[in-house]
C-alpha cells in the first residue's frame, strides 16, 4: 500500500462527512458529561478542512496534514480544536516533503500525533479522553506491523483497538477535560473525543 496526496484529501472529505453524520451522536455523548458541543465542534472543524482542501492540488502530504491541523486549530476552539489540530500538524511534520506514504509512515505519524496530544493536553491513558482510543490504536498498529499483517489488516486492527478503547472509556473515571468535573459520576458514559477518534480510524480503514 502506498497512498498519495489526492487520497489523503479524499479521506479528509470522508471524515468531514462522517462528523456531519455523527454530529448529534457526538453532541449527545458530550451533553451527558461535558458541555454538549463535541459534534458541533468536530463537524464545524472538518467542514472547514474540506472547504480549505477543495480543489487543492497539493502533493506534499506533510503540507496537506499541516493545513488540516492549522484549519482545525483556527476554526474549532474548545478542547478538541487544539488537540486534533496539534495531532494533524505533528503527523504532517513527520512526513513533510513526501508525496507517497506507506504503512510504516502511518505508524510514525500516529506516534507523533499521540505525543503531540499528550504534550498539549497533559493527559495520559485512562484519563478518559481521545487518548484512550488513539494509544490502543497505535499499539495495535505496531503489533500488526511486527506480525507483518497486510496494510489493510493493520488499519483494521487500529480501528478495532480504537473502538475497544472507546468502549473502555465507559468503565473509567474522567480525570481530564470537562468530564473530570463530574468525578465518579462520569463512569458509565462514553467519552465523546475517543468516539470521534475511533470514527476517524474507521474511515481510514474503510477508505484504503
Amino acid at each position: 500500500m502506498s497512498i498519495n496526496g489526492h487520497k489523503v484529501i479524499n479521506i479528509m472529505d470522508k471524515i468531514a462527512d462522517a462528523m456531519e453524520e455523527n454530529k448529534l451522536y457526538l453532541t449527545e455523548l458530550d451533553a451527558a458529561i461535558g458541555d454538549g458541543d463535541h459534534g458541533l465542534n468536530m463537524s464545524k472543524g472538518f467542514q472547514a478542512v474540506k472547504e480549505k482542501l477543495k480543489e487543492d492540488e497539493e502533493t506534499n502530504i506533510g503540507e496537506i496534514l499541516k493545513k488540516t491541523g492549522m484549519t482545525l486549530v483556527s476554526n474549532v476552539g474548545g478542547a478538541s480544536g487544539p488537540l486534533y489540530g496539534t495531532a494533524f500538524m505533528k503527523a504532517g511534520m513527520e512526513v513533510n516533503g513526501k508525496e507517497e506514504i506507506n504503512i510504516a509512515d502511518f505508524e510514525r505519524m500516529l506516534k507523533a500525533a499521540l505525543d503531540g496530544i499528550k504534550l498539549r493536553g497533559k493527559a495520559e491513558r485512562n484519563d478518559k479522553t481521545m487518548i484512550d482510543a488513539i494509544e490502543p490504536a497505535l499499539n495495535a498498529v505496531s503489533n500488526a506491523i511486527r506480525q507483518e499483517l497486510s496494510p489493510k489488516d493493520v488499519l483494521k486492527a487500529a480501528a478495532d483497538a480504537a473502538n475497544e478503547g472507546v468502549a473502555f472509556t465507559k468503565e473509567i473515571v474522567a480525570r481530564k477535560g470537562r468530564a473530570s468535573y463530574l468525578g465518579e459520576r462520569s463512569i458509565g458514559h462514553q467519552d465523546p473525543g475517543a468516539t470521534s477518534s475511533a470514527l476517524i480510524f474507521d474511515i481510514i480503514y474503510k477508505e484504503l
Binding site: A31, D35, G36, G78, R175, K176, G177, R178, S180, L182
Partner: protein, 331 residues
C-alpha cells in the same frame, strides 16, 4: 428554544456589533475577529490585560473592557473557547511593549487555545504571561485531574489585576497580584433551570419543576447533584458551607462578596441570597468589606446564582476600590 436572536450562527457577531454600537466610547472591534479592545489601545507603557472564553457569559468578558480592567476580550462561539488566532490578534492590538497578562479560566480548551496564542505572540516578541482562575469549589481539586473550574471569581481578577496594571506596574507585578486574587477567591453555583446553546437547540441537563442542580458549571455542564428546591436561605447555606470549607478564613478576616446571577434569576432573588450570605459571615465574625450583587458572569438564560468570596488584604482592598470605568462595571 425561546431566544431573541437572528440565527444561531450569527449570535456572536450580532452581539459584538450591538456592543460596539452601545459603547463606542469604550471599545472597538478588531476587523475580522471577535475581539473587543479598548478604544485607545495600546496604552503607552501599561501592561495589557486580555481575557476571553466562550460567549454566553455576558457581560463577561467584553463588558469589562475599559479603564481599570481589561484591554482586550476575545469572544469564542457560545460556550466554546476561542481559537488561538483572535487571542493572538488581541494581544498584538493591546500590547504597548510592556507585555500582556492573559486571564484564563481553567478549562482544558481555554488553556490550550490561550497557550497556543501565547506561543504565537512570543514568537512575535511580545512578553506574555498568564494566570488560570479556578475558583469553583464544587469541583474537586487534584493534580491528577483538570482541577477546579474558573467561574465568577474571574471578575475579581479582572478588577484587581486591571487596577494594578493601571498604576504602571510591571508584568511580573500584575501577574503576582492576579495570582494572589486567584488564590484567595472561591465560588460555587446552583441552577433552577438549565440553558440552551443556540446551535444545539436543547439543554444539557433537565430539571423537574421541583428540582435544582447544585454545583453545575457555567457552560451547562451538569452539577454535582440534583436536589429538591429549598428556600433561598437553605440553598445559600449549602453553597457557603462548601466555599468556607475550602477557604482558611478566621474571625476578623475581611472579604468581598459577589452574588452573581446566571441570567434568568431576578435581582430580587439575588438580594435575598445576599442577605443570608451576610448573616452567615457575620455569625463567623468575618467582615464584609465590599458586596457586589448582579449579573457578572452569566450562563445564557440559566436561572440560578453563584456566590464568590474573596479574602482581602490591604493591597487587594485598595485595588478593588480603585477607579474602573467599563460598560459593565464602574467604580
Amino acid at each position: 428554544m425561546k431566544k431573541l436572536i437572528n440565527s444561531p450562527e450569527q449570535v456572536v457577531e450580532d452581539m459584538l456589533q450591538g456592543m460596539i454600537l452601545a459603547h463606542p466610547d469604550y471599545v472597538r472591534k478588531l476587523d475580522g475577529y471577535h475581539v473587543l479592545v479598548r478604544k485607545n489601545s495600546p496604552i503607552n507603557g501599561k501592561v495589557a490585560l486580555v481575557s476571553g472564553g466562550g460567549s454566553g457569559h455576558e457581560p463577561a468578558h467584553g463588558g469589562y473592557v475599559g479603564t481599570g480592567m481589561l484591554d482586550g476580550a476575545v469572544a469564542g462561539d457560545v460556550f466554546t473557547s476561542p481559537t488561538p488566532d483572535p487571542i493572538y490578534e488581541a494581544m498584538k492590538a493591546v500590547d504597548s511593549g510592556a507585555g500582556v497578562l492573559l486571564v484564563v479560566k481553567n478549562y482544558t480548551g481555554d488553556i490550550m487555545n490561550f497557550e497556543m496564542a501565547k506561543e504565537m505572540a512570543e514568537m512575535e516578541g511580545i512578553k506574555v504571561d498568564y494566570v488560570v482562575v479556578n475558583d469553583d469549589v464544587s469541583v474537586e481539586n487534584s493534580t491528577y485531574t483538570a482541577g477546579r473550574r474558573g467561574i465568577a471569581g474571574t471578575i475579581f481578577v479582572h478588577k484587581i489585576a486591571g487596577a494594578k496594571a493601571e498604576t504602571g506596574a510591571s508584568l511580573e507585578e500584575v501577574k503576582e497580584v492576579a495570582q494572589k486574587t486567584v488564590d484567595h477567591v472561591r465560588s460555587m453555583g446552583m441552577a433552577l433551570t438549565p440553558c440552551i446553546v443556540p446551535a444545539a437547540g436543547k439543554a444539557n441537563f433537565t430539571l423537574k419543576e421541583n428540582e435544582m442542580e447544585i454545583g453545575m458549571g457555567i457552560h451547562g455542564e451538569p452539577g454535582t447533584h440534583k436536589e429538591f428546591i429549598q428556600t433561598a436561605d437553605e440553598v445559600t447555606e449549602q453553597l457557603m458551607k462548601k466555599i468556607l470549607e475550602d477557604m482558611q478564613l478566621a474571625e476578623g478576616d475581611e472579604v468581598a462578596v459577589m452574588v452573581n446571577g446566571l441570567a434568568a434569576t431576578p435581582l430580587m432573588e439575588l438580594y435575598i441570597v445576599n442577605k443570608k450570605v451576610h448573616e452567615i459571615l457575620f455569625q463567623k465574625g468575618i467582615k464584609v468589606y465590599k458586596t457586589m450583587v448582579g449579573e457578572y458572569m452569566t450562563s445564557l438564560e440559566m436561572a440560578g446564582c453563584s456566590v464568590s468570596i474573596l479574602k482581602l488584604d490591604n493591597e487587594l482592598k485598595e485595588l478593588l476600590d480603585a477607579a474602573a470605568d467599563t460598560p459593565a462595571l464602574k467604580v
